[in-house]
Symmetry: C2
Subunit: 294 residues, 2 copies
């Protein structure tokens, strides 16, 4: 049974664990605050790999940033990680096989291989946290595009010059509305300055009309984006992951999407794997690569 | 050398020709007005196939409507064709191998296999006529989705409740702006009732400011949609086909798209094949299927 040391690298913390080829954890999932410099991150990777070296067949990284089509390096900025992290030479960290994949793609692959989208040859997995990431499965393979950067959820979805996205610089893209950041803006607009997405969520649970209004505005943009992806990909399933993915009104959103798409009805599911999806998905991709190159 | 009798079925006319496995016409491209009933269309297919029977290895149909993933039948409405046409049992027309594909997918395949997108593993080919159709290539294969209906260009792109699309019923979808129908609406809005897209095109060629304004509004929505498709697919190339595809300002649109997409720059090309793309693409798909099943 192949075993992979898998890292999930985010701006605040790095999670890591050994994952076997069935997607099961061997031992605990460990977490550490993300070191403050790219060099410290590199040393942390090296030390941790050394510690597990004898027990593993390869190393996987689920990371912020777009990853090249070969799965070896980051090709974009990685905003909330230390300067220079996106230049990390992952292959030089160890002589074991290494696979690098974007975190939303890793999470998407976990849901496709073992989770809510299992058995679907065409699926869209959205990770909705501070931003919106997508892992898209076409004909049983990850959609990567020419460079690896496919699946950017920055498509225009409004025209009112309402929001300029800090991620892409455009006005009114999907992510600027349907992300956690987007929910926070609805909070400020409707509840007043200083209100946050957390206020909306807790107020909605207590039946506060203004919080319901803000939540519904946010969810309506999510619906618009899922219609776009439904019409373009005709997927069996759309899976919602991430902290906000868990709070979506599934039956209502699925019905609204299916009322408007031209393609046959799709299924909307909550993700099976919560925070561990990146660790598991990257490890499974590494196992796949190992078995293809043997 | 395999030879395919290929039909391109539209609301006004049916084109047909024998095409070899290199995409070359063997003899002329013939055209006939589309018969007025589904039964007459079926008889026309049968008679024509009988006429060519001894010289061909298979039959291909490039048709309006979404086609199932197996390439055997239509699974959607086909608005401007006679009632019942979409129920046509293509496989029963002949004992030769038959392949059916959507016309925009067929045109996309022709551009991918032999045209402007040759050598691209990821490409988006938009056919812009009365509506907007897409043939999308992912990892060297047509994007079909779970049912075959993938690639619908009906995604919301505005929010002003400006236009309700007659194709999908939604407000403000891409096709309602970027199609020939969409250009016609800009014409009426800016030049006055009764003005058409043709007025815009001829007036623009003469430097009429209002016609340039209408054309630019139309082209700006086209740019928005290509940004969406660029960010989602990270394609090497976007190819524009169809009567309006030929009139786009390529350098300007390519620069505007590449200024806003997050993925690495894409190339924008005019289609190589004009009206024959459907005939050629469907024939090549039939040849591919023949060689896979032998």
């Amino acid at each position: 049974m192949k075993k992979i040391l898998s890292f999930d690298v985010g701006g605040t913390k790095i999670a890591y664990a050994v994952v076997d080829e069935l997607g099961q954890f061997v031992g605990e999932v460990n977490k550490t605050p993300t070191p403050k410099s790219a060099e410290e991150i590199r040393l942390f990777f090296q030390n941790t790999i050394r510690q597990y070296y004898d027990k593993i067949d390869g190393v996987a990284f689920s990371t912020a940033g777009a990853v090249n089509a070969e799965g070896t390096r980051i090709i974009s900025f990685t905003g909330n990680l230390p300067v220079g992290y996106n230049q990390t030479d992952f292959l030089s960290l160890t002589d074991k096989p290494v696979v690098v994949e974007n975190d939303a793609n890793s999470a998407g692959w976990a849901e496709y291989a073992l989770g809510a989208a299992q058995g679907c040859q065409n699926a869209v997995i959205l990770t909705i946290g501070t931003g919106v990431g997508a892992g898209i499965i076409v004909n049983g393979r990850l959609l990567k595009g020419k460079s690896g950067a496919a699946g950017e959820m920055h498509f225009p979805i409004d025209s009112g010059h309402k929001r300029r996205c800090q991620g892409c610089g455009m006005w009114d893209c999907f992510e600027s509305f349907a992300s956690g950041t987007g929910l926070g803006k609805f909070a400020a607009e409707i509840l007043g300055d200083g209100a946050t997405g957390y206020n909306v969520i807790s107020g909605k649970q207590q039946g506060e009309p203004k919080c319901e209004q803000a939540f519904n505005l946010w969810q309506d943009y999510l619906i618009k984006g899922i219609i776009t992806l439904g019409n373009i990909f005709d997927p069996e399933a759309v899976v919602l992951s991430g902290s906000l993915g868990a709070l979506v009104e599934y039956a209502k959103v699925e019905a609204a999407v299916n009322a408007d798409i031209l393609t046959p009805a799709l299924k909307l599911y909550p993700a099976r794997f919560a925070n561990d999806a990146g660790l598991i998905g990257a490890a499974l991709l590494a196992c796949k690569k190992l078995s293809e190159t043997v």
